[in-house]
Amino acid sequence: MRRILICLFLFYSILLFSQEFIFTAKDKPNDDGSAILIEWDASDYEPDKIILERQDTKGNFLEIKKLSDFLGVFEDGNDINAGKTYFYRLSLYDVVGNLISQKSAQITAEAQWFNTEKISLLIMTIILTAAIIYFIYSARSGKELYIRKISGLESMEESVGRATEMGRPILFIPGTLDLDDMQTIAGLTILGKLAQKVAEYNTKLLVPVCRSMVLSTAKEVVEEAYLKAGNPDAYDPDSVFYLTDDQFGYVAGVDGIIVREKPAANFFLGAFYAESLILAETGFASGSIQTAGTAMPSQLPFFVVACDYTLIGEELFAASAYLSKDPHQLGSLKGQDLGKAIFVIVLLIGVILEIFNVHILKDFLSLH
């Protein structure tokens, strides 16, 4: 009996003292050294309170977080700098506030030179860029490239001609976003080509904008187009003008112009939000030929309904290359098509793999 009791005491003691809680501090991978990951597991102790502290420059431990779960991961991104060493302490307390256990860890924050989580993105970028650059430069050989007809762009000449015959202006809206949006830039490149045709036909062009930076760029683009068309005197600096930055204020202004000036043709090319239908329906009611283009999927149905021609997504970005007929630019469109083909193949493989419960491709392509 005594032996059994001794054995039980020893077993209990081993069990008690073998109770360990895990506490580690790790540098957050794939970052600029501005975060540290704290991992803990105190489920064996089931403490009432878990306090995480970090040592300050004076050597004092200051509480940074009261942890509510027995185990988990906490990201400390508060005032962490790459190359510096940080000391952490995790303390477990029972219900009456007695310290049960305490552990400390130290870690040096490091910045990485390559984000390994973006390797799939890098591979896709390289493939896509290589394909586009290859086709751009292979176009130099003079090989004829087939590009399908885009009705919305073919109609540009028709719209300018109609406006000239009717003696009415042409309205161009480069979207409602600023120059940092690619759709606005795509819209402005089309404006350049349109303005050149307008200058050739000596028609009036109206470009109300809602961003100051778009204003200066649009002015430059239109002025250069008139110069290129050999009709610089016809350029009216006030044909490109600013209305307001406010979304619906801008819509009210443009609607007013449509109703009063009754433009023969309206071009809505750029990024649009809720204003798309208001603009397009007002244009429809005034009887203008309307061409719209945007990469906003939620606004495309509105343009399709209310406009005569709609450039859907990528067509907006292809417009400049299409209109220029420059083989280099057309070559880039071929590169994009190859990219699309690659995407379709990868998607099909991904779907098949997922059906068979194999997640390798999905995991590889996922950006964390």
Partner: protein, 231 residues
């Protein structure tokens, strides 16, 4: 030089930003954010250009009595009122040249700028936005006219989605047995919105994404220069 310098800047910044996407280490990791801040600073200054344009165009209209010049008076008056009230008595918690305008605020309840903002501007904005409801109705009427196979399909899909999102839609098919639950109108509506619509939208987004990459490369490599005003 007028063309070359912008092209060099575009190429350098473009390539740097592509590289920075994969390098978290300083200075690459913060490059994108820094440039975005630069953009905000520049666009802040550019607002002056916009205001000058607004003033110039409208002043000329009034001066030379151009067509519909009367509207320009309202534009300029609104502009000066708002700017003036903001400058003189401030907006929100910030004070203006004459402080917080306690005397005026005591009469109208809040600062003059905020009063006009809340009682005029916001209502005008809401009016414009509410026009959308009427335009949706007129556009939907035209879109849902059955002319051919595609428009008929669109019409059927639209009716199913609309009915599925109403209480009536749910009631119409509530008698269906559990085994035919997938034909319940709210379920059909949800299916159309989750699968065919999302698939179509994603296809457009992938195409647009590739278009953005293609356009960006053309601009970075200097092949596309029309945004600078030249070929």
């Amino acid at each position: 030089m007028k063309r070359k310098i912008p092209l060099i800047i575009t190429f350098t910044v473009g390539v740097l930003l592509i590289i920075a996407e994969f390098i978290p280490h300083k200075p690459f990791g913060t490059l994108s954010g820094e440039l975005e801040e630069w953009f905000l600073v520049i666009s802040g200054f550019a607002i002056i250009l916009g205001q000058l344009s607004l003033l110039k165009v409208n002043t000329f209209k009034i001066k030379y009595k151009q067509k519909d010049w009367q509207y320009s008076i309202i534009t300029l008056a609104s502009f000066f009122f708002m700017v003036g009230f903001g400058l003189l008595w401030g907006t929100g918690k910030s004070s203006g040249i004459f402080g917080h305008g306690e005397v005026i605020s005591a009469v109208i309840g809040i600062k003059p700028f905020d009063y006009l903002f809340q009682n005029v501007y916001q209502h005008l904005q809401a009016t414009m936005f509410s026009l959308l409801a009427f335009f949706i109705a007129s556009a939907a009427y035209r879109a849902f006219i059955g002319r051919n196979l595609e428009s008929n399909l669109l019409l059927i899909a639209a009716v199913l989605v609309m009915l599925g999102n109403t209480t009536v839609g749910g009631l119409l098919t509530s008698w269906l047995p559990e085994s035919l639950n997938f034909l319940h109108l709210p379920k059909v509506s949800e299916f159309i919105m989750t699968y065919p619509t999302t698939a179509g939208q994603r296809a457009i987004m992938i195409g647009a994404g590739l278009g953005i990459i293609g356009s960006s490369l053309r601009i970075i490599l200097g092949i596309e220069r029309s945004y600078l005003g030249g070929e």
